[in-house]
C-alpha cells in the first residue's frame, strides 16, 4: 500500500512564510484530516503536493523514496490526485469526456475511443459506488454528482493518494453524508486520503488522524476518537474559542420588512425567486437557509435594489417601496453585508478608510457635496477599526492586503457601525477564520438584542441554527418549509434538499 510523507517542507512568498518545516505522513487505507483556518497554509501545502509549487526546502517521499514534482504531470504520474474545491469541468461535455480530458486514448487516425472510456468510467463508478451515468451532460448534474465526476477523473488517472480540498463547502448535508460514504469506500480499497477542511465536526466524523495547521506550521495532532470540537478549535485559532453563543429568547417587536409574493429573474431570465412572502420583525433574526444557488442572491439583490423585481411588493415599516435603489435603501436605514466581499463588498485597490465610507462617501461629514474631507474620514475610520477590531497596519493600508477575515470585519464594521434598524447579512462569515466568525456572530446577536431586525442568508446550516430565531428554507426559488425555534438539523437538511416536512 502506498505511503506518502512530507519531510520538513518549507515555502515562503517574499516575507510571508506560507509553510514552515511541515512533517506529514499519510498511508493507504486511512484518512488524514488537515485542519486549518483560511490563510493557515493549507492551499500552499496542497499546491506543493500536486506539483504546482516547488518547496524552498524539504522533500516529499513516496513509499520512502524521495520524489520531485516539477509540474502537475509529475504529481499525477506519481499517483497523487486533487479533488478541487472549484470544479474543473467543461459544462457541456459528457461525464466521460470530462474524465478523459487531457488523457484521451485514441486509435487509428486519431479516432477517440470514447466507448471504451465510457466502459472504464462505468467500472470505476460501480467499484466505489459513485453512481454516475458516463453519458450524462455534466451541467445537468447536481453539484454533488459533479464532484463525483471530479473524483472519477482522479481515479481514472490511477491516483493512490486523493486530496480533497474543502469538498463539503458546496454540498447539502445529505450530499455530505454520501461523500463520506464514498470516502469510506476509497479508504477500504486502500487509497490514502488527505481531507482539507476547516469544519471541525467533519474531521471528527470521518478521519483516522488529524493534523492541525496554523500560521504555516503543524501545531499539533489529535485523535478523532478522543478530541472535542473545543480542543480542535482552540488549536486552530491558538486561543480558547467560545463556540456556543449565549442567547436569550427573542422579543420580536413591530414588523420591519415585509416581502409579499416576490418574484425575481436571474441573468438568464429564468425565474430565480418565485412568489415568496415573509417578514422580519424588530429584535429577531430570520435565517434563510438553502443550498447555494436556490435564489438567495436574487432575493437579496431585489430587496437591496441591485436587481429589479419581476412582481410582488416589498414593504419597510409598512410602507410600500415602489422604486428601490441601493442608495435609497442605505438612506432609509437598511444595511447590507453583501454575500461576496471580494466582488462587491470592498474595493481591493482602495485603502481601508476609503472602503469604510463606500456607502456614504457623498454625505456630510465626509463630503461637502463636492470635496472630500479626508481628515474626517480618517477619524471615523480609526473609530470603526478600533471598535470592530480590524487588524490592519493603518487606515491607509490597501484593503486587498488584509486577510479575508479582516476584510470581512471591515465590511461588517462599515454596515454595523451606525445605529440603524435593519441589517441584511448575506454569508457574513464565508471563508473566514473561526476567531472572526465568533466575533461577527456576537455582533449580530448583540444587534438583535438591541431590537434590530436581521435577515441572515447563509448556506452554512450550523450558522443558521446558531443564530436564527426563525428559519425559512429556500429551494429552487421557493420557500419550501418554515421553522420556528428548535428545529432539528436533519429536518432543515432534508428541506434544503427539497423534502419538506408534511
Amino acid at each position: 500500500m502506498i505511503s506518502i510523507e512530507l519531510n520538513k517542507i518549507s515555502k515562503s512568498f517574499g516575507p510571508v512564510k506560507a509553510n514552515q518545516n511541515i512533517n506529514l505522513k499519510a498511508k493507504g487505507g486511512e484518512i488524514l484530516g488537515l485542519l486549518g483556518e483560511n490563510g493557515a497554509g493549507k492551499t500552499t501545502l496542497m499546491n506543493i503536493l500536486s506539483g504546482l509549487y516547488l518547496p524552498d526546502y524539504g522533500e516529499i517521499l513516496i513509499n520512502d523514496k524521495p520524489v520531485k514534482f516539477d509540474n502537475p504531470g509529475d504529481a499525477i504520474s506519481a499517483g497523487i490526485g486533487m479533488v478541487h474545491q472549484h470544479f474543473m469541468l467543461v459544462p457541456i461535455f459528457s461525464v466521460t469526456e470530462n474524465v478523459i480530458l487531457g488523457n484521451e486514448e485514441t486509435g487509428l487516425a486519431n479516432y477517440l475511443k470514447l466507448s471504451e472510456a465510457e466502459q472504464k468510467v462505468k467500472e470505476i463508478s460501480e467499484k466505489y459506488s459513485l453512481l454516475v451515468d458516463p453519458k450524462e451532460i455534466t451541467e445537468r448534474l447536481p453539484v454533488g454528482t459533479q464532484q463525483r465526476v471530479e473524483i472519477i477523473k482522479v481515479l481514472f488517472r490511477s491516483a493512490q493518494v486523493l486530496i480533497f480540498d474543502e469538498p463539503t463547502a458546496v454540498l447539502t448535508p445529505q450530499e455530505v453524508t454520501e461523500l463520506f460514504n464514498i470516502m469510506n469506500s476509497l479508504r477500504e480499497s486502500g487509497k490514502a486520503i488527505i481531507f482539507i477542511t476547516h469544519k471541525l465536526h467533519e474531521v471528527l466524523e470521518i478521519c483516522d488522524r488529524i493534523s492541525i495547521l496554523r500560521a504555516g506550521e503543524i501545531v499539533g495532532a489529535a485523535d478523532p476518537k478522543t478530541a472535542s470540537n473545543k480542543e480542535l478549535a482552540s488549536m486552530m485559532v491558538g486561543r480558547p474559542v467560545n463556540l456556543s453563543l449565549d442567547r436569550t429568547t427573542s422579543k420580536p417587536g413591530n414588523t420591519l420588512l415585509e416581502v409579499r409574493s416576490l418574484s425575481v429573474l436571474n441573468e438568464k431570465q429564468d425565474t430565480a425567486v418565485s412568489n415568496i412572502s415573509f417578514n422580519v420583525k424588530e429584535g429577531e433574526i430570520l435565517g434563510v437557509a438553502g443550498v447555494q444557488g436556490n435564489g438567495q442572491t436574487e432575493l437579496v439583490d431585489a430587496i437591496t435594489g441591485l436587481r429589479p423585481k419581476l412582481s410582488g411588493e416589498i414593504l419597510y415599516f409598512g410602507e410600500n417601496m415602489n422604486t428601490i435603489s441601493p442608495r435609497k435603501i442605505h438612506q432609509i436605514g437598511i444595511r447590507h453585508i453583501p454575500e461576496d466581499r471580494q466582488k462587491s463588498g470592498i474595493i481591493g485597490n482602495f485603502t481601508v478608510s476609503e472602503n469604510l465610507i463606500l456607502n456614504n462617501y457623498y454625505a456630510s461629514p465626509y463630503s461637502n457635496n463636492y470635496a472630500m474631507d479626508w481628515s474626517k474620514v480618517n477619524d471615523e475610520s480609526e473609530r470603526i477599526i478600533h471598535k470592530f477590531d480590524i487588524r490592519t497596519p493603518s487606515a491607509n493600508t490597501l484593503a486587498e492586503n488584509l486577510s479575508g477575515g479582516n476584510q470581512q470585519k471591515l465590511v461588517v464594521g462599515r454596515e454595523m457601525s451606525d445605529d440603524v434598524d435593519f441589517l441584511i447579512a448575506s454569508q457574513p462569515t464565508r471563508g473566514i477564520d473561526v476567531g472572526s466568525i465568533e466575533y461577527i456572530h456576537e455582533q449580530l446577536i448583540e444587534s438583535r438584542n438591541h431590537g434590530k431586525g436581521i435577515l441572515l442568508v447563509s448556506t452554512e446550516l450550523e450558522e443558521i441554527l446558531t443564530l436564527s430565531d426563525r428559519i425559512i428554507v429556500l429551494f429552487r426559488g421557493e420557500i419550501i418549509d418554515e421553522f420556528g425555534t428548535n428545529p432539528t438539523p436533519e429536518e432543515i437538511g432534508l428541506a434544503m434538499a427539497g423534502h419538506p416536512r408534511k
Binding site: S325, L358, N359
Partner: protein, 362 residues
C-alpha cells in the same frame, strides 16, 4: 483584457518604486536596446555616441532645447491626463486623437472668425470652445457605452476615423479654407486668439507658450479631482470595482458619460493648445498622432497625474532631442518611435526591468 491591462497600468497611489524607478530604468534599458538597433543598421560606435549626445543636448542642453521639450510635452500631457482619468474609471479612451481634432477645429473657427474681442476674452473663449467640443465628441462614446453597451474602444476608434475625415472635408469648405489656396488648409487665427510666448522676454525665438502653464494647472486640477473630490471618489470606485460601485449606489451610466466628457475636454484642450500656441491654423493631420502617443504617456505615467506629467516631459524630450539627433547624426527619427515603444514594453513587464537591474530593487 482591459481589466488586466488596467491592473497593470493604474497605480492607485504614488509609489516611488512603481511610478518613478521602474519608468526611469525602463527608459535606460530602452535606450540601451536602441543602441543595438543602431549597430544592426551599420552605425559606428562614434556615430551612436553623437546620436545619443545630441538626443540629450537637443532636449536639455540649452534654454532653447528645454523650451522645445516643454512645448512638445504640453499637448501630450493634456491628452494623456484625459486618457489616465478614463483609465482610472475603467474606460479605455482610444479616441483622444479624434477629440483633439474636433476640439482644435472648433478653436480654429472661433480663432479666425471673431475679430472684435480683446485677447483676454477671445483666447479663453477659443480654448473653452475647444474643450467643449472635445468633451461633446467624447461624450458620444460615453453615451453609447452607458445606454447601449457599445464598447468604448470600438466606438472611440471609429470616432477617430470620422474626425480625421471630417477635418479633411471641412478644410476645403469656403468658410474655413484660407482664401486663395487650393490645398486643404484653414484660415489663420487672429493674434487675439494666440497663446503668448512666455519666454519671449529672454529671446523671441523661444517657442514655449502659455499653454505649458495651463497644462501644469490641469495636472493639479486632475490630481485634486481624482483624490480630493466626491466625483473623483466615484470615478475611482467605478474603475476599481464596478460591482462595489453599484452596491455603493453610484450610477454607472452617468459616471461613464461624465468621465468621457472630461477626458474629451482635456484632449480638446490639447488640440486647442496646438492651434493657439504652436500652429496658428489647422491642416490635415495637424494632430500629428499626439492623441495616440498620449496613450503611451498615460500608461507610462501609471495613470497618475504626477506620473503623467513626468512621462509627458520625457516623451517631449525624446521628440525635441530626436530632431537634433536626426540633423547631427543622420539617424532617422524613427528610432525615437522604437525607443518609445520599448519603454512601454518594459513598463508593461515591470518584472523584466526588476530582473534586469536587480540591485536597484530590493
Amino acid at each position: 483584457m482591459i481589466e488586466s491591462l488596467r491592473n497593470k497600468f493604474v497605480k492607485e497611489r504614488f509609489d516611488l518604486q512603481e511610478i518613478l524607478l521602474v519608468p526611469v530604468f525602463a527608459t535606460v534599458l530602452a535606450l540601451l536596446i536602441g543602441c543595438f538597433f543602431l549597430l544592426a543598421t551599420g552605425e559606428s560606435f562614434a556615430n551612436i555616441f553623437v546620436a545619443y549626445s545630441s538626443l540629450f543636448i537637443g532636449s536639455l542642453g540649452s534654454l532653447n532645447a528645454i523650451s522645445e521639450t516643454f512645448t512638445a510635452a504640453t499637448p501630450l500631457v493634456f491628452a494623456a491626463l484625459g486618457i489616465a482619468l478614463a483609465f482610472r474609471a475603467g474606460l479605455f479612451n482610444i479616441g483622444a486623437e479624434g477629440q483633439m481634432i474636433i476640439g482644435g477645429l472648433a478653436t480654429v473657427i472661433v480663432g479666425f472668425s471673431i475679430d472684435f474681442l480683446p485677447i483676454w476674452i477671445h483666447l479663453p473663449l477659443a480654448l473653452s470652445i475647444g474643450a467643449l467640443f472635445g468633451a461633446l465628441y467624447a461624450a458620444i462614446a460615453g453615451w453609447l457605452k452607458a445606454y447601449t453597451g457599445a464598447h468604448e474602444v470600438i466606438s472611440t476608434i471609429m470616432l477617430n476615423l470620422i474626425a480625421l475625415r471630417l477635418l479633411d472635408y471641412v478644410l476645403r469648405s469656403p468658410i474655413i479654407q484660407k482664401e486663395g489656396r487650393n490645398d486643404p488648409i484653414s484660415k489663420s487665427i487672429l493674434d487675439s486668439a494666440e497663446l503668448p510666448q512666455i519666454l519671449a522676454f529672454i529671446d523671441p525665438q523661444l517657442r514655449l507658450h502659455g499653454g505649458f502653464l495651463l497644462m501644469l494647472v490641469a495636472v493639479f486640477f486632475i490630481y485634486w479631482l481624482l483624490f480630493h473630490t466626491t466625483i473623483g471618489y466615484e470615478f475611482r470606485a467605478t474603475g476599481a470595482n464596478p460591482n462595489a460601485a453599484k452596491y455603493a449606489g453610484i450610477k454607472a451610466g452617468l459616471t461613464i458619460v461624465l468621465v468621457m466628457a472630461i477626458a474629451g475636454a482635456l484632449a480638446g484642450l490639447a488640440g486647442a493648445n496646438q492651434i493657439t500656441g504652436v500652429l496658428g491654423r489647422a491642416s490635415p493631420g495637424f494632430s500629428a498622432s499626439i492623441g495616440f502617443d498620449a496613450i503611451a504617456v498615460a500608461l507610462l505615467g501609471r495613470s497618475h497625474p504626477i506620473g503623467v506629467l513626468f512621462a509627458g516631459l520625457l516623451f517631449g524630450a525624446l521628440i525635441a532631442g530626436g530632431r537634433l539627433m536626426q540633423v547631427k547624426a543622420g539617424v532617422s527619427v524613427d528610432l525615437i518611435t522604437i525607443i518609445q515603444a520599448l519603454i512601454i514594453v518594459f513598463i508593461a513587464a515591470p518584472l523584466l526591468v526588476k530582473k534586469s537591474l536587480p540591485w536597484f530593487f530590493k
